[in-house]
Symmetry: C2
Subunit: 339 residues, 2 copies
DNA sequence: CTGAAAGCGCTTACAG
DNA sequence: CTGAAAGCGCTTACAG
């Protein structure tokens, strides 16, 4: 087909197949109420194939008032955690015949406005919010009766979320450190206002209690989920009179900074202090030293979120925990304590 | 506005403002040929505001045969290089009133198909391809007369691309190492088939020649742009009879693995070997040791690409180099050689 | 079992 | 200077 792209429409197919457009439409959409002679169906399918027909998304959307597209808002593409979530969501969207618009929520103001615009313009059928968003826009979404879902966090009083089993992840991490013989274990938690941070902290405290260990408040510091945050928190904890022999870092991105800060402060990892972090990703195995982590099902989280969004009404409650696989991946950053 | 979302259309606005729909449409789109009494225009604008009118994207697309959306294909969201490009492209798209659909080209087969589908369905007005793609689909795009643009690479015989000044980046890196006193300088290049890798290699060779230094082929290794690749290449170079005293790594993601491999092989950085890498990002400053880099204008690349795509016909040649800012960011991984 | 018709919400030549 | 009308490409009750 050289020259023009030659937009082929439903009518073109109908002409070639010698049927009405409506029949073609029904064949294309697999209408279960359609009874055509097998031979007719074949003619239609051949014509579609031969002409290379593809339904025009705009026309279909206008008619059905559905966009066949979902939106996924991500706070920061630079955080590798989101790369996995995106991958899962894309795969699920593809399977369901939907497009996925991934966008960074980025600067609060424009992010907020853009998400409302997308909805008002009918460009998306639903919205996935990964990571932190202000509760403000959620209020609007709720009144707008639009399908939306929080991914990897909950929010006060909302009943639309999918999360991971963060408590268990922290528990496995603590168990690993305890089994190595650590008793003075610190926690570099996420931002105090982050739901994931609270759950990981809760899991940390519970596991410490189960192991009969005390949580020393001076060994708990809060950091945002960035390398810089992880570094600052580590410096804080290392400067206490009697630093911990091991820390659980709430996030792998900040663990990068944690390792750096330990090194800069003259603490050998794992010789002087062991480090384990939540999330596993390619990066972790190549840090210095290679980072022991708790693998989390981020890809599964993304795909599950998309599926739930697609299959539920805006009024349904969605409160799901994706639990598998969560497991400790032992590398070089954890070892028994010096004494 | 409790209860229903109450889709408000052009007609609703027209009714309230007591004008025809066509007038509202022209006001909304800022038609320069429209002469309305200022007072009429005010009535229209007030009605739009009061009703919270937003044009329906599907209807507009159907009518104008434009999607008001661009697509950006990314090989791998986990590579932080792309996070910056995405950010730039998103900003530019927002400024121009377009949406941006970011998707991973991922698995070749489905990625290829998805991009053609998007076009056939009229879901996008143009496509940006960041990173490597097989030349195959480009052939199809060319015949389809659809605007597309390669970002950060060129391809044989194609005249639609925006790239960075990779030669210069390599040159600055080599100059920095030379100024520290290094003479045995190696290069951990990107994949042999990658255009960026070739340009960075060319820049490396040219700068070495300018400095009167020889390129020892045993000190040049190829790696894909991942931590694992950077580690393998480093091991290769370090196992030569007389390893280099410094290496230029073509990519920051692989430099993570490079530092790890050096450490694992018992080479201190920068004591035994200096490391400098192309691209700067938050991660770099928090590696062990903090990585010296050449900062590249990745955000600018993304926004420029989007603008070029929006403003040029499918037949235009687009061959642009985004040159600023490129500069060496000195951290802890480079130092004078031991002797 | 298949076709004719209406209409989704816009834009844009064209007429008045 | 403003309005009436056609039509973009589909889907879907409805009629035959």
């Amino acid at each position: 087909m050289p020259g023009k792209p030659a937009k082929v429409t439903l009518s073109d197919v109908a002409t070639v197949a010698k049927v009405d457009r409506s029949v073609v439409s029904r064949v294309v959409n697999g209408d279960p109420n359609l009874n055509v002679r097998p031979e007719t169906r074949r003619r239609v399918e051949e014509a579609i194939e031969r002409l290379g027909y593809r339904p025009n998304a705009a026309a279909r959307s206008l008619r059905t008032a559905r966009a066949y597209m979902f939106g996924l808002f991500i706070p920061d593409f630079a955080n590798p955690v989101y790369a996995e979530i995106i991958k899962g969501a894309e795969q699920a969207a593809g399977r369901l015949g939907y497009g996925l618009m991934t966008a960074s929520s980025g600067e609060v103001r424009s992010g907020h406005q853009r998400c409302l615009d997308l909805l008002a313009q009918n460009r998306v059928d639903g919205l996935l919010f990964a990571g932190e968003e202000s509760g403000h826009e959620l209020e609007r979404l709720r009144t707008a009766k639009v399908p939306w879902l929080l991914v990897n966090r909950r929010v006060n009083g909302s009943h639309r979320y999918v999360v991971l089993d963060d408590e268990r992840a922290s528990g496995l991490a603590v168990d690993h450190l305890v089994s190595l013989g650590h008793r003075r274990i610190g926690h570099l938690a996420g931002p105090a206002e982050a739901d994931t941070a609270r759950r990981r902290y809760a899991g940390f405290v519970a596991a410490m209690r189960r192991a009969g260990l005390e949580v020393d408040r001076r060994h708990v510091a809060h950091a945002d989920y960035t390398p810089a945050g992880g570094a600052a928190a580590m410096r804080e904890v290392l400067s206490t009179p009697q630093p911990p022999t091991a820390v659980l870092v709430a996030n792998t991105a900040s663990a990068v900074g944690t390792l750096h800060a330990a090194h800069a402060a003259g603490f050998a990892v794992p010789g002087d202090i062991s480090v384990i972090a939540v999330h596993d990703m390619a990066l972790a195995g190549h840090l210095v030293p290679a980072l022991t982590t708790v693998r989390m099902p981020l890809t599964e989280l993304g795909s599950r979120a998309l599926e739930l969004l697609a299959h539920h009404d805006p009024d349904d409650e969605i409160t799901e925990v994706v639990t598998e696989p969560v497991e400790v991946v032992i590398r070089d950053s954890t070892a028994p304590p010096a004494r």
